[in-house]
C-alpha cells in the first residue's frame, strides 16, 4: 500500500532530516512510527502526503507521489492532525465533515449518508451540528477523526492522536483506532497507545530507521528504546520505584 | 471610529458601499490573477489575530491610559494591500455582525474609512516607498531597516487615521445628521485622531519590528536578502507624495469647509435648480455629456430625495412635532407593550403545554 524507496529530504542544504529511508507498509497493516523529537516522524508524514518533496520514490498503491498524482493520492490518505483546531476550520462539525467528500465530487445525498454513517460508527451523532469552538478537546479530537473518516480513505495517518486527552477520551480514541479497518500509520510518543493499536513499529532516529519489527518485540526492548531517548511503555515497565 | 447606521444617510451609505465594493472587487481580481491560493488561510488566521489583538490594552508610558494597535497597516505590511484589505473587511464585518460595532449599512463607509486608507494609501504611498527609500541608510543595513519600519508604521498610522477621521466627518456632515458646523466637527475629530494615530503607530511599529527581527521574510518589501536597497522611488518623491496627501487632507477641504460651513454640502450635491456639474466647477461646454447625466441625476435625486435634509416633499412639514404626533407616538408605545404582553402570554402557554 505504502512504499518508501531510498527517500531523503533536507529543509536546508546539508542538514538532512530524512536519509535514505526505505520501508513498505502492506494493506491493512497498523504501523506505529516512533522516535525522539526531531527524529523525522512528521517529515515522513509530510513526504507521504506530498506536502514536501524530497529525493527517492514514494509509492501509494503503486502510484508515485508527485505533482500530477497528488489529488489521487491524497484522496486515499486521511491525515488526522495533531492540533484539531487547525484541522477543523469550518464553523460546525457537520460542515467540516462534508468538506472533503464534496470536494472529491461526491453528491450531496451520498455525502449526507456518509456523514451520518461515520457519526453513528463513532457514536458522535450528538456532535453533528455543534460549533467547533464550543466542543471540548476530547470531542474535538473525535470529531477530527470523523471528518477524516468521512473521506473514506484507504489509509489513515495520525499525528499524536492521543496528545492532551484525559484518560477516558484517550481510551475512546484508542478504541476507535482499533476499530478502524483501514491501513494505519500513527506517530506518537504515547508508546502505550502504540502498543494497543499497532502490530508493527518503526523506530526512527536522526532520519534513519533504527529498528523495524513487531510492536510487541520493539516496545519491550528497553536498551533499544533508551538508546534512542525513549522509555518502556508504562504497562510493560512494571512498578519500578527508584 | 466605527460609524453607526444612524449616522449615515442612505445615499452616502450606498456611495461608500460602491466605493468599498469596487476596491474589494479589484483586490479579489488581483489576488485571483496572482493565484496565491495559500493566501486564503493565512489571511483568515491573520485577520482573526488582528481582531483579537485589537482588544489588547497597551499601557502608554507616563500616562494612565492605554492604546490599541492599527489593523490596516499591520495587515498590509504582512499580507500586502489587497489581501490586507479583504482581511480588514472581514474583521469589520464580524465586529458589525456579532458585536454591534458599526452597522450593516455603515459597513461600506467603515471599510472605506478604516480599511481602504490603512491598506492602500498606507501601503502604496507610505510603506512601500519608505521600505525602498534610503532613509536611515547611514545606520547600517539592519538598524536602518528597523528605523524605516518604525517611521513607516508611525507615519502610516497617523496619516491613514487622519484620512479616516476626516472621512467620518465628511460622511456625517453630508448625511445631514449633525448640526455641528463642518469645520468645528473637524477641529474636534482630527486632533484626537492625531494622538490615537501616534500611539497606534508606535504599537504597530513594535509588533512589526519584532516580526522583522525574528522572521524578516514575513514582511512585505522589507526583505534585505540582496543586501542592497533598491531605491525605486527617491526620498524626494516620497516626501512630495506625503506632502501632497497632507495638503489635500489638512488644507484644501478644510479651507472649503471653513469658508462656507454649509457650502460643502451645497458644492458637492448642488441645489435643486442647478446641476452638479456647475457647482463642481466643471465647464458645461466641455463636459456636456456628463453634465446632462448630472442634471438627470440631480432631477432623480430631487424626486426621490433620500437625503434626510431634503426629505420627501410632501412630508417635510415639521412632521411629528405637533401634539397629535406626540399622542400618536404614545399610542405606538402602548401597542408595543401589548405585543410584548401577548408574546409573553403565548410563550407561557406553550411552556405549559410542553410540560
Amino acid at each position: 500500500m505504502i512504499e518508501f524507496q531510498h527517500v531523503s529530504f533536507a529543509y536546508e542544504r546539508g542538514r538532512s532530516v530524512i536519509e535514505d529511508l526505505s520501508f513498505s507498509i502492506a494493506d491493512g497493516e497498523a504501523v506505529g512510527l516512533i522516535g525522539a523529537n526531531g527524529a523525522g516522524k512528521s517529515t515522513v508524514m509530510k513526504l507521504l502526503l506530498g506536502l514536501v518533496s524530497g529525493e527517492g520514490t514514494i509509492l501509494v498503491d503503486g502510484v508515485p507521489v508527485n505533482r500530477q498524482n497528488l489529488s489521487q493520492i491524497r484522496r486515499k490518505l486521511g491525515f488526522v492532525l495533531q492540533n484539531s483546531d487547525n484541522q477543523m476550520f469550518m464553523p460546525t462539525v457537520y460542515e467540516d465533515m462534508i468538506f472533503a467528500p464534496l470536494n472529491y465530487g461526491l453528491s450531496r445525498e451520498a455525502t449526507e449518508a456518509r456523514v451520518d454513517a461515520v457519526l453513528e460508527q463513532l457514536g458522535l451523532q450528538e456532535l453533528k451540528h455543534r460549533h467547533n469552538h464550543k466542543i471540548s478537546g476530547g470531542e474535538k479530537r473525535m470529531a477530527a477523526i470523523a471528518t477524516i473518516l468521512a473521506m473514506e480513505p484507504e489509509a489513515v495517518l495520525m499525528d499524536e492522536p492521543t496528545s492532551a486527552l484525559d484518560p477516558y477520551n484517550r481510551r475512546l480514541v484508542i478504541n476507535t483506532i482499533r476499530g478502524l479497518k483501514q491501513t494505519k500509520l500513527i506517530t506518537s510518543h504515547d508508546l502505550d497507545m502504540i502498543l494497543d493499536t499497532c502490530d508493527r513499529v518503526i523506530l526512527l532516529s536522526a532520519g534513519r530507521i533504527a529498528a523495524d519489527g513487531p510492536a510487541d518485540q520493539i516496545l519491550r526492548d528497553r536498551e533499544l528504546l533508551e538508546a534512542h531517548r525513549m522509555e518502556l511503555p508504562f504497562c510493560l515497565a512494571g512498578r519500578r520505584l527508584e | 471610529m466605527h460609524m453607526a447606521d444612524a449616522l449615515l444617510a442612505p445615499a452616502v451609505a450606498a456611495t461608500m458601499y460602491v466605493a468599498s465594493g469596487t476596491a474589494a472587487g479589484v483586490s479579489i481580481h488581483k489576488l485571483k490573477k496572482d493565484d496565491d491560493a495559500q493566501k486564503l488561510p493565512t489571511m483568515a488566521v491573520t485577520a482573526a489575530l488582528v481582531f483579537a489583538g485589537q482588544m489588547i490594552n497597551y499601557t502608554i508610558p507616563g500616562t494612565g491610559s492605554s492604546g490599541h494597535m492599527c489593523g490596516g497597516m499591520l495587515l498590509s505590511a504582512l499580507l500586502g494591500p489587497q489581501a490586507g484589505f479583504l482581511s480588514m473587511i472581514v474583521i469589520l464585518a464580524i465586529q458589525c455582525l456579532f458585536f454591534a460595532d458599526g452597522g450593516l449599512m455603515a459597513l461600506g463607509a467603515n471599510v472605506w474609512n478604516m480599511a481602504f486608507y490603512g491598506c492602500f494609501v498606507g501601503y502604496y504611498l507610505i510603506w512601500r516607498p519608505m521600505m525602498h527609500s534610503r532613509w536611515f541608510a547611514g545606520m547600517g543595513a539592519k538598524a536602518g531597516q528597523r528605523a524605516r519600519i518604525i517611521a513607516a508604521s508611525v507615519i502610516g498610522c497617523v496619516v491613514t487615521l487622519q484620512l479616516g477621521a476626516f472621512s467620518v466627518v465628511l460622511e456625517t456632515s453630508l448625511s445631514g445628521i449633525t448640526e455641528l458646523p463642518f469645520g468645528a466637527f473637524m477641529a474636534l475629530m482630527q486632533p484626537i485622531h492625531l494622538a490615537i494615530g501616534l500611539v497606534e503607530g508606535l504599537i504597530t511599529a513594535a509588533v512589526l519590528t519584532f516580526v522583522y527581527e525574528s522572521r524578516p521574510e514575513l514582511l512585505r518589501e522589507a526583505d534585505m536578502t540582496d543586501g542592497a536597497v533598491s531605491a525605486k522611488r527617491s526620498l524626494k518623491a516620497t516626501i512630495v507624495i506625503l506632502a501632497a496627501v497632507a495638503l489635500v487632507v489638512g488644507g484644501g477641504l478644510s479651507l472649503l469647509a471653513s469658508e462656507n460651513p454649509d457650502g460643502l454640502e451645497w458644492a458637492l450635491f448642488g441645489n435643486s435648480d442647478a446641476g452638479y456639474a456647475e457647482n463642481m466647477g466643471l465647464d458645461e461646454d466641455d463636459f456636456g455629456v456628463e453634465s446632462r447625466a448630472a442634471d438627470t441625476a440631480a432631477a432623480i435625486q430631487e424626486k426621490t430625495a433620500f437625503l434626510p435634509d431634503y426629505a420627501f416633499a410632501n412630508s417635510d412639514t415639521p412632521a411629528g412635532t405637533s401634539v397629535s404626533g406626540v399622542v400618536g407616538a404614545a399610542m405606538v408605545a402602548a401597542v408595543a407593550v401589548l405585543i410584548c404582553l401577548a408574546g409573553g402570554f403565548f410563550r407561557k402557554k406553550r411552556a405549559a403545554a410542553a410540560k
Binding site: 502526503l49 491524497r74 490518505l77 491525515f79 476550520f89 469550518m90 464553523p91 457537520y94 470536494n103 472529491y104 451540528h129 467547533n132 469552538h133 | 453607526a4 447606521d5 449616522l7 474589494a24 479579489i28 489576488l31 493565512t42 483568515a44 488566521v45 482573526a48 489575530l49 481582531f51 483579537a52 482588544m55 489588547i56 490594552n57 494612565g64 504582512l78 479583504l86 472581514v90 458589525c96 455582525l97 456579532f98 454591534a100 449599512m105 445628521i177 448640526e179 455641528l180 509588533v207 519590528t209 519584532f210 522572521r215 434626510p308 415639521p318 412632521a319 411629528g320 412635532t321 401634539v323 397629535s324 404626533g325 399622542v327 400618536g328 407616538a329 399610542m331 405606538v332 408605545a333 410584548c340
Partner: protein, 267 residues
Amino acid sequence: MNKMEKALRELSEMDELAAHASPVHGLCPTAKLLTAIAYILTVVSFNKYDLSGLSVMLLYPVLLFQVSGIPVRTCFYKLRIVLPLVMAVGLFNPIFDRAPMLTLGTVVVSGGVVSMLSLMLKGLLCLMVSFLLMATTPIDALCAALRRLHVPGMLVTLLLLTYRYVGVMTEELAVMTDAYHLRAPGQKGIHISAWGSFLGQLLLRSMDRAQELYSSMLLRGYHEHFHYVDFKPFTFSDGLYTVGCTAAFLLLRFVNVAQALGGLIVR
C-alpha cells in the same frame, strides 16, 4: 474575566441564540438579510425631525423580539458600543439648533432636541434589527445567503474561515493576557517592553498555524472552491415576508401613522 473572554462569551451567546427554533429562525436567511437592509434603509431615511413617524418603526423589532423569543437584554448590552458616537454627534444638535419646534404645555422643545432624540432612536432601531438578524441566523446560513446574493466567494469563504479562527485566536490571547497579568500584578495593560513581542510571538505562531491549516484544506481536496451549506431554500412564504415587510416599511415611511392615530384623539 478579561476583555477577550467577554468577547468570546458574546460570540457564543450569539451562536446559542441562533440555534433556537422559532418562526423567525425558520425563515430563509436571504429573506431576513434583505428585509433587515430594507428596514435600516427606511429608518435612516426618515427626516431628522420626524420623531413620531419614526416611533412607529419600533413596532417591527418589538414584534420580532416577541415572535423569536430572543431576550432584549442581550441587545441592550451591545448598545454600549453604538451609542457613544451617536450621542457625541447628536448632543450638539440642541446647542446649534434652538428653533422652537413644539410646545407641550409650558415646555418648549427645540428642533435640536427632536433631531437628537430621533438620531438616538434611529441608532437603537438599526441596532435592534441587525442584532435580531444575527441572533436568529447562524453564520454559515448567513454566508450561504451572501453567496446567493452574489457576494464573491473569496470574501465569503474568508469570512467563514476568519469567524472560525476568531474564536481560536481570541481564546489563545485571553490565556496569554491572563498569563501576563499573573506575572505582572498591578499592571493595567501590556508594558512597553513587551509591546512588540506579546502579539508578535502569537503572530509568528499563527503564520505556522496558517500553513498547517492550508495543508489540512489541501489534503481534503480543496481547490479554490467552497461548498456552502444551504439548509433552507427561498420559498414562496419567504418571498411574501420580504415583500410584505418592505411594503409595510415604505407605507410607514410615507404615511405618518402616529400622527394619524393621535389626530383621531386630539383633534
